[in-house]
């Protein structure tokens, strides 16, 4: 179980780094879907090995919501968005370096948690947290609405992974609420982005600069 969870979480983290590295939107979207699929497999694997039936349901919902529904909506939002050229002075190299530093930071921050963890999956907790941190960084430093959403979703995936690894999943009502929230956020984002596009003829949120002071 330890090996399986470590391997799967590590793959998720590697995909996160690829998302940081890649610049083309469809590629990043596919990477996000792949990451979500890996998380579903992680949930399913833990479900089998720890005999938690609830996790099968969770895995199924992940597949439906994050592997299927959300990438579809995001593709709809992103269709028409030009492949973003790398802005001068902002290369993927530096972003990857920052991501690497965040992985180290994740291990440091999660020390008390890994020290207290008794479940066999505990070792992978910092990996999931690193995923969350990198997603947060993507979200905060993103230059357009799509990067914001994608960063947020990676962040959310990281927290979801952490929750499964640390606790084998939260009570059903909370899990259900989480999925519903993520889905609704993406749908609202779509509505907002559609309006931004209509108003500004671009989804570059750099143009949202009216409110200051």
């Amino acid at each position: 179980m330890t090996t399986a969870s470590n391997l799967l979480t590590f793959l998720c983290l590697a995909i996160t780094l690829l998302i940081v590295w890649r610049r083309s939107w469809p590629a990043r979207l596919r990477l996000f879907a792949a990451q979500s699929l890996l998380l579903a497999i992680l949930a399913g694997t833990i479900g089998v090995l720890a005999q938690r039936r609830g996790l099968f349901l969770v895995a199924a919902v992940v597949v439906v919501v994050k592997v299927w529904a959300i990438p579809r909506v995001l593709a709809r939002i992103g269709s028409g968005a030009p492949v973003r050229p790398i802005a001068p002075g902002r290369s993927s190299g530096i972003a990857l370096l920052v991501a690497g530093a965040l992985v180290v930071a994740a291990y440091v921050v999660m020390l008390p948690v890994t020290a207290a963890a008794e479940l066999p999956t505990g070792g992978a907790i910092p990996l999931a947290f690193a995923m969350a941190l990198i997603g947060l960084a993507l979200c905060v430093t993103g230059r357009d609405a799509l990067s914001h959403i994608l960063g947020f979703l990676v962040f959310e995936n990281g927290i979801f992974g952490l929750a499964i690894l640390a606790t084998y999943g939260l009570p059903g009502i909370v899990e259900a609420g989480v999925f519903l929230d993520v889905l609704v956020i993406v749908l609202i984002m779509e509505a907002v982005v559609v309006q931004v596009r209509r108003e500004h003829a671009s989804i570059d949120v750099d143009r949202l600069r009216e409110l200051r002071g």
Binding site: C139, I159, A166, G213
Partner: protein, 476 residues
């Protein structure tokens, strides 16, 4: 009764989804009034010594919950009385249903025993209100709602991380505790929980729910959303939504204190509280827009509440909780009046509005009164709660923190009054604007300000004891 208070706004919202015109306005009024009545009934029942429980303890209202429920009912009613001004006839645009859904999510957040469900409800408040912020569909309101959705979603996700860690600590220590996410369980188990994990969890919880509460430096969404939303929504957001964020932090604080000792949470709360007051007092001087100034004033007051909770002890905690209520009443009154001024003058810029006192004497007087209450002048309630917070701060050995905060408060005081003076008394320029409504329209706001006089001058019998019971929940 607890079920009724939750069911009324939910059913109301569902019915309002289909209703139009006159029917919608009537239904809206009935829903708001019955939510208010049910909320007050809950408060009375709980104050009589009964803890209301439903669904096997999933829903639970103790004194602190009842305090918040009553507050949400009151501010909801106040905001609802003003809402019809903002709804264009024949074009409902889902304002009423979202309004009541928003109220419902806030009520749910404060009336559940389950911190997971509380998290879902707090997240729900964002989703329900994001379209309300963008109700006017201007470029600025669009930007505000985008920022609001993004920052609060990230914030609340961080709070989820904190919730996960709390749950993790619970089940690590005690195996499969079926109700490990109930705060009653949490509080019982707290002394045995791993202090380091709980500390880490609390950091995430404070950052997460603090985003929702508008604590600096996570407050950046707040001035935009508050100033761009229609006034009744601003009143709800500033009056009670921020307090719901504080409520969430206050719910976790006793468990953290029990697990990790009181100094840890105190340090964080005092730092964030002071920072919030500092940021607000600076921006109150530079803000060119009076609705934004009111929003920054909210950051200031939430910072004060945070300070009171950080000082801890019965007096400061009671002061902080009383301050939540006082601020809710004064700020919602202020926002509702600012909305009228904005509607009359067509601008929320301080520079382009002057002479309100001359053109709109009733609105102007109500606005001025609420501002005077907000800056903490006696005889209003905010003066009393601020005195409670600061007296306890000085007495419990934090003279430096309390002194700096007091100084910042004076700066904020002058900043807010400067702008308001310009609006109200500046020489009237351009065409005179006619006051649109008569005396009856000021009655709800006047009632709110009257309650503030009550909390400032003469506490009703039993009020002090009730406050002590509240404080004992947060600071046992």
């Amino acid at each position: 009764m607890l079920l009724a208070v939750l069911a009324i706004p939910l059913v109301g919202a569902a019915l309002l989804w289909r209703a139009t015109n006159r029917l919608a306005t009537t239904l809206h009024a009935v829903t708001a009034a019955s939510t208010l009545a049910a909320g007050l009934a809950v408060a009375v029942m709980v104050n009589a010594g009964e803890t209301l429980v439903a669904f096997d303890g999933l829903l639970r209202a103790d004194a602190l919950s009842a305090w918040m429920i009553a507050l949400i009912g009151i501010v909801g009613g106040l905001a609802a009385s003003e809402a019809p001004r903002y709804v264009v006839p024949g074009e409902p645009r889902r304002f009423y249903p979202l309004f009541h859904l928003f109220v419902f999510t806030m009520l749910l957040a404060v009336s559940t025993d389950d911190v997971g469900l509380m998290w879902v409800a707090v997240e729900g408040t964002t989703l329900a209100s994001v379209f309300l912020v963008n109700f006017e569909r201007t470029r600025a309101s669009l930007e505000a709602s985008y920022k609001y959705l993004l920052i609060c979603s990230v914030g609340i996700a961080i709070a989820f991380l904190g919730t996960v860690l709390v749950y993790f600590a619970g089940i690590q220590q005690f195996g499969d505790e079926t109700h490990a996410l109930r705060y009653t369980t949490l509080l019982r188990l707290a002394p045995g929980l791993s202090p380091r994990v709980i500390e880490l969890a609390f950091v995430f919880l404070v950052v997460g729910y603090g985003t929702k509460a508008g604590l600096a430096p996570m407050h950046t969404w707040l001035p935009d959303a508050h100033s761009e939303a229609p006034a009744p929504v601003s009143a709800l957001m500033s009056g009670v939504l921020l307090s719901v964020g504080v409520y969430a932090i206050a719910r976790f604080k006793p468990a953290v204190d029990a697990a990790a000792g009181p100094t840890f949470a105190r340090g964080i709360m005092l730092t964030l509280g002071l920072l919030s007051i500092a940021v607000a007092s600076a921006f109150l001087w530079t803000s060119p827009n009076y609705k934004r100034a009111l929003a920054y004033s909210s950051v200031e007051h939430i910072g004060l509440v945070c300070l009171g909770l950080g000082f801890g002890g019965p007096v400061a905690t009671a002061g902080a909780l009383l301050h939540v209520a006082n601020h809710a009443l004064a700020k919602s009154a202020g926002f509702l009046m600012s909305g009228r001024i904005r509607a009359a003058y067509g601008s929320a810029e301080i520079g382009s509005v002057r002479g309100v006192m001359k053109h709109m004497p009733r609105t102007g007087a109500a606005f001025l009164t609420s501002i005077l209450a907000l800056v903490g002048l006696p005889p209003f309630g905010l003066f009393v709660s601020e005195v409670m917070i600061f007296a306890a701060g000085f007495k419990q050995g934090f003279p430096l923190v309390a002194g700096i905060a007091l100084l910042l408060l004076v700066i904020a005081f002058a900043g807010l009054l400067r702008g308001v003076h310009h609006i109200l008394y500046g020489a009237p320029a351009g065409e005179p604007v006619a006051e649109v409504a008569g005396w009856p329209s000021v009655v709800p706001v006047a009632a709110a300000l009257g309650v503030l006089l009550l909390t400032g001058l003469a506490w009703p019998p039993g009020f002090g004891e009730a406050l002590d019971r509240l404080a004992a929940i947060v600071s046992p």
